[in-house]
Symmetry: C2
Amino acid sequence: MSRMEIFGIEGIGEISAGTNLADVIAEAAASDQGTVLRDGDVLVVTQKIVSKAENRLVAIDPNDPLSHKPLVEQESVRILRRRGDLIISETTHGFVCANAGIDLSNVERGWAALLPVDSDRSARRIRDGLRHRSGVEVAVVISDTFGRAWRRGVTDVAIGCAGVAGVVDLRGTADALGREMQVTEVAVVDEIAAAAELVMGKSTGIPVAVVRGIDPTWLRDGSVRSEVIRKPSEDLFR
Amino acid sequence: MSRMEIFGIEGIGEISAGTNLADVIAEAAASDQGTVLRDGDVLVVTQKIVSKAENRLVAIDPNDPLSHKPLVEQESVRILRRRGDLIISETTHGFVCANAGIDLSNVERGWAALLPVDSDRSARRIRDGLRHRSGVEVAVVISDTFGRAWRRGVTDVAIGCAGVAGVVDLRGTADALGREMQVTEVAVVDEIAAAAELVMGKSTGIPVAVVRGIDPTWLRDGSVRSEVIRKPSEDLFR
């Protein structure tokens, strides 16, 4: 737990609809200077290639800068704020983000990428595929880039996970002075996504990173949907 | 940029008012299995030891669980939400967080730790101290644990920094398909704080971590206050 390594997997090419991501990742890892995936590694996979592999691309008018806006409405269950062209909404998945997570960068002109339908399932599929193909027991986090309230700048967060906790509950763990701590539920899966982003960057074409050295007690069944998404009824800012 | 290492510095003992943190960190690093700080390392230092060193502890009635509440009001310029004992407010520094960032865990019973007065300055002081003492050019991030809107669980974010960018502006950088990207301002300093938390944990007594391998172009003058804090007038959720 006191040492971690994070590195990108080089050589993952363009992904198209139907690509088996587990196969592509295993092959790229094997040929990237002999990087070998190990049990306990956490693979962070960017939403963009998951959306492409799952055929979540939708054609839009390339000459109309607002042509993806009807998609934003379609992918949203509730609009929270509008400012100019920006829409902050709650998506059908329960995420609160700009433009329903629909992205036009790193996709071909004339196409928009919607979020995966169920990113926890997407993560499980990659995890199961790697176990089946390589016999390796990795966790998988699907990451995307979201803005936040109150703070400038975007950060990467988790939109799906498998084999790793979404939130680790430190309620009742003794603190360093031996007393019982106040409730501390840490969204480790979001911290993992953020950490991976530091090596993936935004435009370097490295859509998968390995986070090695995670506390093994965090490697359990996990879900962003059921652990990380805050219900509207529990949310003070919706 | 494609490989990073993160590790905690062991052996940092209890910190008290007036402790020179740069000295303590340099000594602990030197005796922790010969860990040697290098130019370009980013040191992430938790708020708690900074507040202790800067004598930001305030006595409270240990038998009254609400005795820190007047401090929350004093440290706040605006209350955003209340629910039961929980207060979400904007602090005098401009942070939006629970209980004005005042913490009772990992401090002696009967004491509360306020946030540093100016965490960017605290970071500069540690950075300058290490340069002066050891001739090493490190960046410093002061981290704290905040909740978020819309998502469950807390994550570590930066409350101050020196020698590293708060936000990296990728506006206009070409994406992997060679087209100009949409505006992407990444709060790398928050991602660094989150990454460090993965090795520090909440109760392991490791209050300083090293993040090694950050993109060297991010190592410039930086400030959480001027880069990361969103002005109320620009904020859709205040």
